[in-house]
Symmetry: D2
Subunit: 261 residues, 4 copies
């Protein structure tokens, strides 16, 4: 059974800005979805901000194994309830790949618990993403590095928690560096942040970038059954204790009563 990927895009710049439209006439989401579908083990669909529930209904998320997220100028327009729904699905085991300016998306900030700030410059300068562990599944087939002739600079300090693994570090022509590929685990879900993808350059048309996205979908896919009660805190009554116990001391709760949240 193929991995079900959903590519989410706010889909604004492609309609507002001629430069972006020329590069992504059908939207960034369609370019990425087409690239993913070139891998026959992936089945890619899309969703955008303007659809009902931003295209991320309960049903759609239940049928998504890995979600990719591209957003930039409309972060604030994303409904908090949808953000919380996506977070819960990540906790249950859905993979999440956050792209580029998604560093400031509600969902990324929600899952990092950190400022997610960085420095930036839109000068079309050269970026070179160095591979840190060339045997990591996310970089299969990539070689030593990825060179982008034109890129937006994202510079350290990048205000995120220490990652599980640093997958890429970027060099910029203007003199900065950036941890441009980072992995995290949240509940049962795997998360990959991947920095390149500024909309005024044809970055998602690059073959190596497309390969990283395919690899990352495989990496982020958790085949385990969704852990649907991952966020609940069940009481374990004395009678269900693994070792014999007798009640002692004072108590706030009547037997079997639910805890406070």
């Amino acid at each position: 059974m193929p991995i079900r990927a959903t590519v989410w895009n706010e889909f604004q710049h492609e309609r507002d800005n001629a430069t972006v439209r020329a590069i992504y006439p059908d939207g960034i989401h369609r370019t990425i979805a087409a690239a993913l579908s070139a891998d026959l083990a992936i089945e890619a669909a899309t969703a955008t901000l303007d659809e009902p529930e931003h295209g991320l209904s309960v049903e759609r998320l239940a049928e998504t194994d890995v979600l990719l997220w591209w957003g930039h100028k409309a972060h604030a327009a994303v409904d908090d309830a949808v953000v919380e729904r996506v977070a819960q699905r990540v906790f249950e085991g859905m993979g999440l790949i956050v792209l580029h300016s998604g560093h400031f998306s509600k969902i990324f900030k929600r899952l990092m618990g950190a400022p997610c700030a960085l420095r930036w410059r839109e000068a079309g300068e050269r970026e070179r993403l160095w591979v840190i562990n060339r045997s990591h599944p996310i970089v299969a087939g990539i070689g030593d590095c990825i060179e982008l002739p034109n890129s937006e600079m994202y510079g350290e300090p990048f205000l995120v928690p220490e990652p599980l693994e640093t997958v890429f570090i970027s060099w910029y022509q203007g003199g900065e560096v950036f941890r441009s590929g980072l992995t995290y685990q949240r509940g049962a879900g795997r998360l990959f942040y991947f920095a390149p993808g500024h909309e005024t350059y044809p970055i998602y048309h690059d073959a190596k970038i497309q390969r990283v996205l395919q690899n990352a979908v495989h990496w982020a896919h958790n085949p385990a059954k969704p852990w649907t009660d991952v966020s609940t805190a069940p009481n374990v009554p004395i009678t269900a204790a693994r070792e014999p116990l007798e009640q002692r001391g004072g108590s706030l709760h009547a037997p079997g009563e639910e805890g406070f949240r």
Copy 2:
């Protein structure tokens, strides 16, 4: 100059429940503040839910080096704006020590980006907190372990991100285990989660528990000047680049323009 600690408590059970009141007649916050003040390098104040702005005004937080947080049944009553204010101060460098049922507080969930769920049982059973690295500053003077004759069981799985360091792991009489002391970094701020502290047992009167709290205040204190713009993403204009650059490619932004958030 002493470290300025503020002990925050929702201060509800001590007024509602005779068992709790008998143990903490002046409130858990006062017991903890007195314990901290026994360390002359610490200057401890208190704040509670019912005070204006929950006692956590901008001014008060600006004068707090390390905040301790105890909450249980009134998590939902904490104002979101105050939670965000506390999170921002942590990012700037304020230390945060989250206690016991604070695992489900808004501020802990905000900073973990994870469900923070666990299993629990209120049976007054024995808990033994094993020290993992006996040379860690948080456990100075503690020895091998801390024994609590009566405790609430908190059991794994504890749904938090992998910590920077596992400081304590607890054994429970009823057969469970729990990572009861964990450290994290968020922005410039250090965070310590410390599990024991159920309000129906006199845990904060225990000398070893008090010593851990004192140690943790020292550990969480960041003497660096607050990083007040930690959450902003400044543009680095081409003219300020460290290496000579010329503008290339398309652009979304006029020169010097602010980015989207």
Copy 3:
């Protein structure tokens, strides 16, 4: 193509000690290999201390995707050159699963860079291994925990580096806890330490233990081509620099000369 697993055992106790022989008449390695082979995606072979080169020749290791290691009283008899050979294969991408008393094996200490010490007691007491992330591939099919009616106690502090992931934490009847399943990455190789397996109890006959070993072989397998020059430090001559450079300042080396090691 199946994953090629090699189960290494010092194979001493099974010949010296009647208790152990009764449980593992053909040796621990054969019991484990049979359990792995029940998974048709795994092809398991064995190797033992008394074979030439301990059964771990260059050729054999080149044909091993994942190595499992069980040793106890004969750690010192393992040849340093073979240890180094195994370490190099791990760096190149071979998976390694270190079992039980292997915490004090040369290969585990070599890869941890830490004392690897712990406390222990052979009392046949009850052990319960709690699953920390039930959606981790190593615990697929295991449920909440594994109960062992008789086990050797291994107690904290366990002197190893902070792991990538804590997979299991054990509860012991006698009052201790232990991080009994830990993951690490070394070069291109994945490493899993799994604590249970004392030779006087039939632990490797337990169905859940066998399932963990199968899962761990899948998890530790890195399908990438071996990174054979992972330990070398190549010079990047000026002429091969990605950006134009001119030699400046003093130099120790003639152009193209090899570095010191």
Copy 4:
């Protein structure tokens, strides 16, 4: 009481090579020791390869709180017994700061359990070390970055375990990046790897580099009493168990007998 730092240097290039001698006429160790001593809270001594026991006798190490290590062409000349002695002291709580080409020293490889390989180029190119967390104690007073007009390039992939914290990432003129400041914990000891320091450039005369070294000595200093038995695995007899136990099942050991190592 001041922190007792010992600066170890192989002290070979300064005697063999006129370029290096001109920069460090008394040896790199004396330049660093003088820089440390400018901080009145540090008392710095030196030790070199040619001294008996390389200047690292049991007594000297017992009186060292933090050891700094500079070596390059004579790694192989360092006695294995001294390396093991230093490793044991780190496990007991001594801080260790490994400098530059020390990435291939026996002691660093011993403590990393990894290849410690990297790419390199001696072209005198520009290096810029970016600060990742500007509130980390190791970078106090440093600002955004350190610029070195001439440096040896060290490039990723750097084959070390994921660090506790990434403190610096370097940008190089020739197009590479490097994680140039990394922290680790081994037993009770803290370890900082700091990449700059090629001997043909006056890097240890740079005021910011000196400040980082002073800061790192403070950071690496563990005031806890040395954990002298950190590497032993004591038996916990049944009579000393924290919970009542009775012997069950088979046993390899007579009561109270020492375990195998």
